[in-house]
């Protein structure tokens, strides 16, 4: 176990950040999943000792992250806010923060250069950060979290603003770090992003931990709840009638040029669709899962 939250609550005045959080984080890569406003950043700020819990106890590597400043030698943190000393170049930024991690002069420069190369930013590293794109800014933040070779890396929404190539590379980097024995806790509000990095997740919603474990278990849990799928068709009434005959269909709603289906077994529906199209001659122009966003998933979990 690298981290634990024991009955932790955090309030900001009247606003609730986290409530009654009891969680243990195992070594390896762990995804912290939740829609915007779920309490992910509060969770990570508590974990990295930036704020103190209003109630309960937080431990990271066996110690209190707010009180024990030495602990930060072993931690790398990539914050979510887009905040920098804009006049610094990427290289100066990473070197400065690496030196503040206790790494001496030349070694700090060497490690900073290595980390910059690892996030593919060598060519841009000597430009001031104020000229960086959003994706580059995310990558330079990531580099400063890696440069001092920490045991635990905490990443708050690291893929935000990255282009698809950047996302893919960062996802691979996080998996590599996990394979090298580094523990990574990474937050995201996008389920499939986290699935690309790890099988281990913690689900947060409205400041509470709703589930924790293997992503398969979470998926199984989610499968107990109906998924919404929208099918575009020229014959919505006929398609709706055919769908109602299927098992595990919870509801069907007919709209002008589409049908919205709620099913507890989306995979079975996907298997049956080609047969409906071919045997019944029902045209299906497209299908769209409305559950790509975690907000919808969490609505099910908390219903």
């Amino acid at each position: 176990m690298i981290a634990s939250f024991e009955k932790v609550a955090k309030w900001y005045g009247a606003v609730v950040g986290l409530v009654d959080v009891d969680v243990e984080v195992a070594p390896g890569v762990t995804g912290l999943l939740g829609p915007n406003g779920a309490g992910k950043s509060t969770f990570l700020k508590l974990l990295t000792g930036q704020i103190v819990p209003s109630q309960g106890r937080v431990r990271l590597l066996g110690t209190d992250p707010f009180r024990d400043w030495r602990l930060h030698r072993r931690i790398g943190f990539c914050p979510e806010p887009d905040a920098f000393w804009e006049q610094l170049t990427g290289r100066e930024f990473v070197r400065y923060l690496t030196r503040l991690h206790g790494v001496a002069g030349r070694e700090a420069s060497r490690r900073a250069d290595e980390a910059i190369a690892r996030v593919d930013l060598d060519a841009e590293a000597d430009r001031p950060i104020r000229g960086y794109s959003k994706g580059m800014r995310q990558r330079i933040k990531l580099a400063q979290a890696l440069a001092h070779a920490p045991e635990v890396i905490v990443l708050d929404e690291p893929l935000n603003g990255m282009d698809p190539v950047g996302r893919k590379k960062t996802t691979n980097l996080i998996r590599e770090l996990g394979a090298q024995g580094v523990s990574v806790l990474v937050s995201s509000h996008i389920l499939h992003e986290v699935e690309g990095m790890t099988r281990q997740v913690v689900l947060l919603y409205q400041g509470r931990v709703r589930a924790q474990g293997e992503i398969g278990e979470i998926r199984a849990l989610l499968d107990r709840y109906p998924h919404k799928i929208r099918l575009r068709t020229g014959r919505p009434r006929d398609l709706a009638r055919a769908l109602l005959a299927l098992e595990r269909i919870v509801a069907v709603r007919v709209e002008e040029d589409s049908v919205q289906v709620e099913t507890r077994d989306p995979d079975a529906l996907f298997d049956l669709l080609p047969r409906l199209v071919l045997d019944e001659g029902l045209p299906v122009e497209s299908l769209h899962s409305e559950d790509l966003s975690l907000d919808a998933v969490f609505e099910y979990l908390t219903a």
Partner: protein, 260 residues
């Protein structure tokens, strides 16, 4: 790498931040004002050189530029990093928060003291071109102004750790409250005013200077010694730094958009 190295790194960064961009421009305007006034005053030749210089330093430097710059920089010492949310990078380094706070104070103070000493030296030279001014007096005036900046700056920096609106509250304390206290009849009230101690300090070093400044120094008791005022200034400086360091170590600092 030691705590001292971290202290120096952070102080150097704060020094560079202070002497850059819009902040530098504003500070140059602030320290440029007394230089400009020294040209006007020394050109008028209405008083003896040293008395003019003392009046200039009392009113323009100690009552104007020093507390204004201290308020502006003191509040920004951590305030800028908090509002800019870059404080997150510093709070997640293996450095005691008190060291971070003191290092930023030291860096910003060193930067302003550099500008201030140039402005005082330049003003001294301008006065000396027209009027007989003692170079030692110029140096001591610079030292008193520097001490004033350190004390005011530490106080305002500490205030920012307790209050979001430290700039407004600091202005009310540094200018309105202090002026009210100085306007009160002589008694013990002056002891709580930084300006009072700076004025006593200056008057004690240069007794002649108290004559034309009598109306300004109304609250200063005759028996007060320079040593007592220096001690009081040291207490305010040390106390402010200590309270600030304890505050940042023990309490959570609200960073904008903490709720997520």
């Amino acid at each position: 790498m030691s705590i001292l190295s971290s202290f120096l790194l952070i102080a150097r960064h704060a020094f560079a931040q202070t002497l850059r961009g819009k902040r530098l421009l504003l500070l140059l305007l602030l320290v440029g004002l007394p230089v400009l006034l020294s040209v006007l005053i020394s050109g008028a030749r209405q008083r003896s050189g040293m008395l003019d210089f003392q009046m200039w330093s009392l009113i323009v430097l100690l009552r104007g530029v020093v507390p204004l710059a201290a308020l502006y920089l003191g509040v920004a010492i951590l305030g800028d990093e908090i509002e800019g949310r870059t404080i997150t990078f510093l709070f997640t380094r293996p450095i005691p928060r008190s060291i971070l706070y003191l290092a930023r104070y030291a860096g910003a103070a060193a930067a302003f003291l550099l500008l201030l000493s140039i402005a005082v030296a330049l003003s001294g030279r301008i006065f000396a071109r027209h009027l007989p001014v003692d170079p030692r007096g110029v140096a001591l005036t610079g030292a008193i102004a520097g001490a004033g900046f350190l004390v005011y700056g530490a106080f305002f920096a500490m205030l920012r750790l307790f209050l979001q609106r430290a700039l407004l509250v600091g202005f009310l304390i540094g200018f309105i409250l202090e002026s009210l206290i100085m306007g009160l009849p002589p008694g013990g009230f002056g002891q709580i005013s930084v300006w009072h101690h700076l004025a006593v300090f200056q008057a004690g070093v240069y007794p002649d200077a108290i004559l034309p400044g009598q109306e300004v120094l109304e609250g200063v008791g005759a028996d007060e010694s320079v040593a007592a005022s220096v001690r009081s200034l040291c207490w305010i400086l040390g106390g402010s730094l200590l309270v600030g360091a304890v505050r940042i170590t023990r309490s959570e600092i609200r960073i904008p958009s903490s709720v997520a």
